[in-house]
Symmetry: C2
Subunit: 211 residues, 2 copies
């Protein structure tokens, strides 16, 4: 545990032997996310993770402080790819409708292609302890509040109905998108963009054409 930052990939660096991935924090986190997603945090041992990477347990502890830190890192990667793009959408010069559309597309995309990490994110939060657990809750709330802002903005502008409480709408919306991580298969019939498009239509105009 010497370098906390991943070394930047530089062209001239000697490549590791093909076949076995270089053991690194990022690699561990990815492998662990896949196992946690399949069997759950509690049911996955460090031996399982190590074995799945062709390595023994001891090696993991050189790159990672303990089991919970692996979980923490999974949560962080999800937040890192989620937060900033959403913030940009909210702050952009767009109509509320456009913002909402892009926000849904964004969130759907994240849910679709980070699925192991996302599954863990929505299932294993109880296993976080200490201040970090609180931090995650806060950042989740902040993320929700971005969506709320969009909805409220739309209501103020008279574009969205004013009789639907923004909080509930947002919860419903996010629940809708989050469900993707449970069922979405990248090799299935629909791309995440197509799914997002369906959700956008649903949320904007509903299922009934001649209201």
């Amino acid at each position: 545990m010497v370098q906390n930052l991943e070394k930047l990939e530089v062209g001239h660096k000697k490549e590791a032997k093909p076949g076995r991935v270089r053991l690194t924090q990022k690699a561990i986190v990815e492998a662990a996310a896949a196992l946690f997603a399949r069997a759950g945090f509690g049911a996955t041992s460090l031996d399982d993770i190590a074995t799945s990477m062709g390595v023994t347990k001891g090696a993991l502890y050189y790159h990672v402080k303990n089991k919970e830190e692996i979980l923490r890192l999974i949560f962080l990667t999800v937040l890192v790819v989620s937060e900033e793009p959403l913030q940009h959408i909210v702050e952009a010069e767009l109509s509320p409708v456009q913002k909402l559309g892009r926000a849904i597309e964004h969130h759907t995309a994240v849910a679709a292609d980070r699925s192991p990490a996302m599954i863990v994110f929505y299932r294993e939060q109880v296993h976080l302890t200490g201040p970090f657990a609180r931090e995650i809750t806060l950042r989740k709330k902040k993320y929700e509040r971005y969506f709320e802002q969009i909805i409220e903005e739309g209501i103020q502008a008279g574009i969205f109905k004013s009789d639907l409480p923004a909080k509930i709408v947002v919860f419903g919306l996010l629940g809708m998108c989050n469900s993707l991580s449970q069922w979405y298969k990248p090799d299935g019939k629909f791309s995440s963009q197509q799914v997002a498009a369906v959700f956008v239509k649903m949320v904007e105009n509903g299922l009934m054409p001649y209201a």
Copy 2:
């Protein structure tokens, strides 16, 4: 483990000492659901469950085969309160719009007031093993198919838009309702009926009033 059926509550039966609940399968399942919901299945020990009921670990084994059976029973209780009412709605003499509305109300209500069990239901399925795990998956699918039927019926009747794939709509819909178990507080601002009403409006006509 002698009686599989709960004895019916009969008036003249001697009440157990107030304060301590009579130890029974149902009581164990309820207590366990609360603990599992808070800390997760893997992180909750049988000691935790026993202690929370003012009893020792061994006593649980008189009423329950093992830890996983407790989990199985939690899943069963959720299914039991969910399946039949939905089936009745689907088979009733109602318009697709009415059916959809009632189905959403039903599912929302279940998500709202069985919340510990529901949280476990949507989080701990990975810890089920053997044929029962498969059974749950199947029954979940069947439940989804009821919703799908309603949507398809509505499309056929020209009431719902035909360009939105029923499967995706249903997943979104259920994700929306299921999210309730994560955030709904019975003592909060909204009743589950009010939340359901919001969801129904969202799904039927969307957020935009003048489409």
